[in-house]
């Protein structure tokens, strides 16, 4: 029972003046470049401390590959920690090693970079929340900045899809609050991978207009839509083998190279033509 007395007793939050917040903010770099040039342009510089960025797209539209490239690039920088939350056993050490070999890194540097990428294999939302809580308790002002990449959130949330009770929504809301706490109270930036789903039921073409049938929207529900500060949509360009990334907020688009050259031993390469 939340009584006024109990709340005042347990109160641990207070306010901070914007001036103090400003002083704290300018002491540390607030933008972490992803290392993928065109994505940094789309994001106005890179991943920002204190913000949640989402990459969504249809399956096999280079989302995981982009997140992996970002993890590798960020891990190569000093003073930044990386945690890759792998919910589908997608992260492969061999793939990363091949990626770094193609950049002509020495074996020593490759091993060092690999060691800097921390991998959390998580298969439930509860475990994800636990991870966030542990990080919140342990992180201090003296720690390096941290980038957390979650690949992917729907992979955990669909375990609760369409449950009669609110449990799934409650869990999503709890994980969102913990994410916000982390990015707000500590030097953390979070990148979340999401998928695009089509509208639910298809009906014969005669009954419904084609546009209605193919309502494509990011999954995870309406509440989630308000959470990320920036949303990037990845898409295969029709009739070609290129992937484009689109920033919903500033509506910039950038393109990447043909699929057959999207080799798994190297990071994403830029297309020569982009919108």
């Amino acid at each position: 029972m939340l009584t006024k007395k109990s709340v005042l007793k347990n109160r641990e939050v207070s306010y901070v003046s914007a001036y103090k917040l400003y002083q704290q903010t300018i002491q540390r770099p607030q933008i972490i470049p992803t290392g993928v040039k065109r994505i940094d342009e789309l994001l106005d510089g890179g991943l920002q401390i204190g913000r949640i960025v989402e990459i969504c797209g249809q399956p096999t539209s280079a989302k995981s590959q982009l997140s992996l490239s970002i993890a590798v690039n960020v891990a190569s920088r000093k003073n930044i920690e990386t945690i890759y939350v792998d919910t589908k056993h997608d992260l492969s050490g061999v793939v990363i090693r091949n990626m770094l070999r193609s950049r002509r890194y020495t074996e020593n540097v490759i091993a060092e970079t690999l060691q800097k990428i921390r991998v959390a294999r998580i298969y439930s939302v509860e475990k994800l929340i636990e991870l966030f809580e542990n990080l919140d308790k342990r992180m201090t002002d003296k720690d390096n900045s941290l980038v957390i990449i979650i690949d992917s959130l729907p992979s955990l949330m669909y375990l609760h899809h369409g449950e009669a009770k609110f449990e799934g929504l409650n869990l999503l809301a709890e994980s969102v609050l913990r994410m916000r706490k982390l990015v707000s109270r500590h030097q953390v930036a979070i990148l979340v991978v999401n998928i695009i789903t089509c509208g639910r039921k298809w009906t014969p073409v005669e009954k419904k207009k084609p546009e209605e049938m193919r309502l494509q929207k990011p999954s995870l529900g309406k509440h989630w839509q308000t959470v990320p500060c920036v949303r990037l949509l990845s898409k295969w360009i029709i009739d070609s083998h290129a992937v484009s990334f689109y920033n919903f907020a500033n509506q910039m688009i950038t393109g990447f190279e043909e699929r057959k050259k999207l080799s798994y031993t190297s990071s994403l390469r830029m297309a020569d033509k982009s919108k």
Binding site: V94, Q115, P210
Partner: protein, 273 residues
């Protein structure tokens, strides 16, 4: 940070280099897959009826048992059948030819001169545990039984489900379908991680409306299912040659998308020359 998230990508690389993938006996396919069907990942074979999915399953159930001393995995297999496509006679046929082929290798291999590892037909068939499931409840029960079994029998290195789509597609409630499917896939993934075994599923094709009002064929169970599985190989018959097939590696860890031809012989899966 190390006490919160202990594993690093380097640990994973070391783990991966120690793994033994299950060969398919189609050399080009094995190379593209990085040696064969890798443990720790869910690999799906998807295609129309008669495209070789079940044949692949049989072949892998035999190949997983190739002894360690000659580079194989030396493990046992679990075959969960939801389609009634399992024919013991066909498995026996594949096992016979495989066993004979490796008998020659045993004879030539220096390591095995003293204690010849058994790769006999009886042992192979004995090493495949079979479950038949009528519906999703039985499938779920079978997976729980396998989970319990894995605690005792540490040498199980392959779980096959042929097919994953039959018991799921008949569910009317779309949301429940996704929820049940994800619970199954998550359980399988956890088992694959914990016991370092390979999971192989088969799936069918369905049709879906596309961008230009055209209907096109795509794997069943939807985009949400595609998202969760680790690798997908599409299979189809090669109409030009008898017994020749094509595998399209749509989503595979170590290779860009590529077409690879293969054959189905009496002895099972082989490369197309």
């Amino acid at each position: 940070m190390a006490d919160i998230v202990g594993t690093t990508a380097l640990d994973i690389l070391i783990e991966e280099t120690k793994q033994r993938p299950i060969i398919t006996l189609c050399r080009k396919l094995d190379t593209a897959l990085g040696g064969g069907i890798a443990p720790g990942i869910i690999t799906e074979f998807c295609g129309p009826p008669g495209s070789g999915k079940t044949q692949f399953c049989f072949q892998l159930c035999v190949n997983v048992q190739i002894p360690r001393s000659i580079g194989g995995v030396g493990g046992k297999a679990i075959f969960i059948d939801t389609n009634q496509d399992f024919t013991p006679y066909r498995v026996k046929e594949i096992a016979e030819i495989c066993s004979k082929r490796y008998e020659d290798v045993f004879k030539n291999s220096p390591q095995t001169s003293s204690a010849e590892p058994e790769f006999s037909v009886e042992k192979i068939l004995d090493g495949i545990r079979y479950y038949y499931c009528n519906d999703r409840y039985e499938l779920w029960a079978a997976i729980q039984l396998v989970k319990a079994r894995l605690k005792e029998e540490k040498d199980i290195k392959l779980i096959v489900i042929d097919s994953i789509c039959s018991p799921i597609r008949v569910m009317d409630d779309y949301s429940e379908r996704i929820r049940v499917l994800y619970r199954i896939l998550t359980d399988l993934q956890i088992m694959a991680d914990e016991y370092n075994l390979a999971v192989v599923l088969t799936n069918n094709l369905t049709s879906k409306p596309g961008e230009n009002n055209q209907w096109y064929l795509c794997p069943a169970l939807g985009d949400t299912h595609t998202h969760k599985i680790g690798q997908r190989i599409l299979l189809g018959r090669n109409p030009k040659e008898k017994d020749h097939y094509v595998a399209y590696l749509e989503k595979v860890k170590l290779s860009p998308p590529v077409y690879i031809g293969f054959k189905i012989t009496d002895g099972g899966i082989r490369g197309a020359d």
